[in-house]
Structures are given as C-alpha cells and as structure tokens.
Symmetry: C2
Subunit: 371 residues, 2 copies
C-alpha cells in the first residue's frame, strides 16, 4: 500500500522554481499519472489489463533476451509497422510506432498543431492533451461536452488549428461512431484530426481504415490496454504517408531509437496474436456488463462505457468518500476532482473475482453512508 | 548487407513538404543515425559494444518476462536512480533516467536552454545537438574546435544561454580533464552546463561527483556503450535536485513512463555489475591501443581517443574511398562528409578478431590506392 513515488518527479522535493529552468520548464504543468501502489492491493486506477500478455509474447521475449541487446534496435521498428498495417490492410508507410501512445501523441502535437492556431478538444477528455498544448505552446479551444458527457461532432467542424478527440473518450468511455469521426475529418480538410483510440478494442470500432480516404486523419492506438503491454510502452499511429512522415521528422529530431528491441519483439508478437487479444477483450467486456449491472442495483448510474473501465456516480454518497473508503480497503480507483467530474469515479475492469470484491466493498460503503 | 531503412523515416518516400505539417515539422532537420545493416557484416559504425550485456543482466531480464508486463512501469524508475546514484555516492534525487541518453539530452535542451539566448557548443561534436536546437528553436553559438580538434574550455566561459559539451568528444574521442569541466561550470554560474559522457568509461573520468559543487552542472551518461545495452535504450543524468526536477517537469509533460519494465530491470542489473563493465571496457581499451598501433604502421594518424572508437585519417588515401572500399568488404564504419571531418573515419572498436580483419582490409586498401 506504500507508493514508490515519494521522492519522485523531483518537483515535489524542489519547492518553487529554479533559476536554471527555461521558460518551458517553468510553465510546464506535468500530467499526474495514477498511483502505482505496491503490495497486495486491487489496482483498478490506470486501466491496465487484468490478464497477462499473450503466451506467444512472453515466449518471443524470452527468445530475444540475449547478446544482440548490445545492438541498437531498428530505428523504424519496421516489423511492428508491418504487423500493425496488416491488421487494417494498410501498408507500413501508413503506420508509426512510438514509445507508448503518449509519445506518439506528443509527436503529433509537435508535428501537426500550431503555435498561432488553436487546436480544439473537449473539456472532459484525456487530461494529457492540455499538458502537451502547454509544453509546446499551442493555443487550445476547449469545447464543453454535453451534460450527459456526449460529444457533438459538429462542434469540431472547421477548427482553426486541428482537432484531437479520444474515442472512446476518457474517462467517460463514450464511443462516437466512426461516421462521426469521418465527418470531423471531412470538415477539417486542411487541418489534422487526431483520434486517440486507446480503448477502442473494448467495444468501439476503429477509424484506422478511414485513413486512406482522409489524408488528414491520424488514428492513435496503444498496446498498453487490450494487448496487456503497459509495462513495455508501445503506441501506434495510422495515417497517410505524409502524416507518418511528419511524425518521423519529429521523432528523428528527438531520439533515433525510441522503441527498444524487446518492445519491438513483444509488439510484433502481440499484434500477430489477435485471437488472444479478442478473447481477453471479450472477457473484459463481459465482466464490465456484469459489474455495471451490480452497480446499478446499488443505485449507481454510469455512462454507456465502451472502454475497459466504468465511469459512475452515486445519488447519495459522494465520489470522494467512496474513493477514500475503497482506498482504505486496498482498492485503488481513479478520482478526478475537477468540477464536472468530481461526482464520478473511474473504475478499471479487473478479473471477475476482483470485481466481486469491489462490488461487495461498494455495497458496504453505500450502506454505511446511507444509514 | 541490405538495410531495413529503405522505406523508413517516411521523409524519403514523401517528397517535399506536407500542408498538414506544423512549422516545427517543416523546419525539423532530423539526425541521421548510422546504418543498421543486416546479415554477416562487421558493424563498426554506431559505437556499440562488441561484447554482450552482463550475464546478470540477461538473467534478470529472463526473470522479469512475465504477467507483470501488463502493468505500467514505475514512472520514476526509482531502482535505476538508486543504483546509478550509488556509483558516485549521490542520492536518487540527483539522478534522472530516460529512454536513452538522446531522450535525456532532448529533455535537457527543453528544460535548460532558451528561445532568446544562444546555447554554445563546438562545431565538431555529436551532431544531434544542432538538431535539438532546431527542433526547440533555441539559437546556437557554434565554436570551432582547434585544428587538432582540441577544445579550449575558456571558449565556453560566460555563455549567454548555457553550454553543451561531449566529453570525450565525438567523433574525435578527445577527453577534456574534469578540472576543465569544473572551470566551464564555474564560469557559467547562472546557466546550465551539460556534459555528455556517453564514452567516459573507455578512458575518461566522470564529472558526476562535481554536481554537488556545481548546481548548474548536468552530467549525462548512457548504458548503450560501456554497459552493452544499446538495444534497451537507457540514459542517465546526474545533477542537483533542481536540475533533475527540471528534467522531470519536461518528462512529466511528455510521457509519464518513458523507461519500460524490462529496460528498468536491465539497467539496474547492469549498474550493479560494475566488475563486468570494468572488465569489458578494459578489453576494449586494450584492443583500441593495439588497433591504433597497427593503423599508425599503415600511415594513419589519429586523435588520442579515450572512447570506444578511433578517429583517423590517411595522408594518401581519401577517407571517402576507404569508407567505400570497407563497405564493399562488408565492414561498416562511420564517415562524416562535412568540411572539417571529411578526411577522417570513425571506426568503432570491436573484438580483437574483428579489428584484425579491419586492419588487414585497410592494409589491402592502402596498398591498392598507393600503387
């Protein structure tokens, strides 16, 4: 239950601002990831997969541990580009590979968004987007989602400097049909539309096949969620060759080799074992439905999540209280205390046994606070 | 002998500039890494270690391949910070860990150098520095090294926006005493001095112990060379807690987890097996001296390299010709065709057997061209 983060991030130790920092470092507003608690806890706070990576991934990794680790990896990660391209009948020139989708997104902000033209994204979405905008000094037009957290695609037509949307959105889990994504791309013909599909394999449908029709559409995915490889950091982008070339230009100006040999090996094996991925994702979707049903019985309401988490609120008990009570019981979920999300909890879907424990704890907490 | 880079970098496929690219993408001038030829070649072009990683590293990696790869890594890579700190009797708050020293250097440019004040570095040095300056729009004051490639530390006193030096320098291999590094740090009290020690373990001496005395000194190292882990991408920085916090602010605004679980495992094990590193480095230094002796006999002249490469020129045969002839024979070395380096070749030190083959090939080529 202790965290390894005590002295982390330096920022917490060093109060204030250093005279040695650049303006960029002074003005940076780093993203705060979910805690990484150690020991015997139920960890449902960072949307990791409750199942291990494919056995074929682990076997491939064991084979790759050897003397050749002294050699630099292929800077293009060609074997991953090829395997990813085949998933959507694209070509390797239409795929980019990065050190986690966070790196891919950071490169996309640098490659496609502008210092003098605002990029548009929702107020409730992956909270790294405003962090990138701040770091790269890109102005942002932040569009409120509706009261039910839904996104109106028309709000993203004719953006001055491009668009970024998560689909399914985080932390709401709401999925926008690919037709809506196509409409946003079609109505921004001279700007880039980035769609972050980190959670698409849990009930959504990818817009990747649309990248041939829309040369301004970049579809970003990750192997951290559905492929259970959060520990190895591999992200993908699908797009026209000119968008991929833009990402390559930024990457090549930053770090020639961002994806290491073992990550390349694992990613290729994972992308080539779609049956395992589909089986795991189907189980998680099943568990999500069962868990949501039990939460409804306890009075919770939630979004129609198509992700590997639910986003729920209780009419009587405050989310902050539930969050603290769960933590007390060794159950970590995510709580975003911003105004529009402060009534909600985001709970990652774990194994059926883990969700049984969580449901029982929630029943107890609700009873306690409703008494 | 074929390269995997044919379709790489996108930039080679996409001619010209895309209307979707930002100014940053348009103006980027990506670094071009050495080729990664496949098949049976002698690869002495990217300064990799000819020996495998420590057996303890490989054993630790095999142990870490398992279900826990589904979990995000520790975002602080605390176990690597601790192991690295112990090498120089520093504390973990004085260490930063990144995805290769290239990432660490890119963060340092963002965290410590300025859009309105030029950073100073030599004309002949690691050619990624001007690439970072271009990407982050930091002006540069480029100081010519002397005719013998030596660096006068006084040229780096009172820099308007900070300093970056490689020590030993690349591709010359020349080492500047730590006293000179201390003098540069002392004469830039309100600016950051970055010293890139990628090659320090092959005959240099690290300035890392000086970071307590000079809070403006950042010492960057890599596990790619002396620890034979180029394939896993781990870089380090040593500095005052306020400099490390500056790097953490940039990293936390870019990618929460840049170093993956297997890289963390390998890095810790490598840093804790100093005996292996020292043995391997001593062997490489020995081979370098023997190889340089044979090159001198063939009429080559070279710098007094303290790195795992030599930097040599021949009075009769042009470097470009030697480079092409070696490549013809399946021997890859590095050739930098810029004006001041076009007479030289950089040859990585491999195993004694590899260097025997290279020396024999060079003897043949010199004879051929001198006839």
């Amino acid at each position: 239950m202790t965290s390894t983060l005590n002295w982390c991030a330096g920022t917490r130790k060093v109060r204030g601002v250093s005279k040695y920092w650049s303006e960029a470092a002074r003005q940076a507003a780093p993203y705060i990831p979910g805690d990484q608690p150690q020991g015997k806890v139920i960890k449902l706070n960072t949307n990791e997969n409750p199942y291990p990576p494919s056995p074929k991934v682990l076997a491939a990794l064991r084979d790759e541990v050897g003397a050749q680790l002294r050699r630099y990896p292929d800077p293009t990660a060609a074997q991953v580009r090829t395997a990813a391209a085949e998933l959507y009948s694209l070509s390797p020139e239409e795929v980019f590979v990065g050190n986690g989708s966070d790196e891919v997104l950071a490169f996309a902000f640098q490659a496609f968004f502008h210092r003098d033209l605002p990029v548009r994204f929702p107020d409730i979405t992956y909270s790294f987007y405003p962090v990138y905008a701040q770091l790269y000094q890109i102005p942002a037009e932040i569009v409120p989602v509706a009261a039910d957290f839904s996104i109106d695609p028309e709000d993203y037509f004719h953006s001055p400097g491009g668009v970024i949307l998560a689909n399914p959105n985080a932390p709401t889990g709401l999925f926008m049909p690919v037709e809506a994504v196509a409409a946003v791309a079609a109505h921004n013909p001279s700007r880039v539309v980035v769609v972050d599909e980190a959670y698409v394999d849990f009930g959504g449908c990818s817009a990747a096949p649309l990248v041939r029709e829309y040369p301004n559409l970049l579809v970003v995915q990750t192997l951290s969620k559905s492929r259970a490889l959060a520990g190895l950091r591999v992200g993908l982008a699908f797009g026209s060759p000119e968008l991929i070339a833009g990402l390559d230009r930024i990457k090549g100006s930053f770090n020639s080799y961002t994806v290491d040999r073992l990550a390349i090996t694992a990613a290729e094996a994972a992308l080539r074992d779609e049956e395992y991925t589909r089986t795991v994702c189907a189980q998680i979707v099943q568990t999500r439905m069962e868990f949501m049903h039990r939460l409804n019985e306890l009075g919770f309401r939630g979004t129609d999540s198509k992700a590997n988490f639910v986003f729920v609120t209780h009419p009587v008990v405050a989310a902050a209280d539930i969050y603290a009570e769960l933590k007390e019981r060794g159950i970590y979920v995510r709580y975003f205390p911003a105004p529009r999300t402060a009534d909600y909890l985001r709970i990652t879907i774990g194994t059926p046994a883990e969700m049984d424990t969580v449901a029982a704890a929630l029943a107890e907490i609700i009873k306690l606070y409703s008494a």
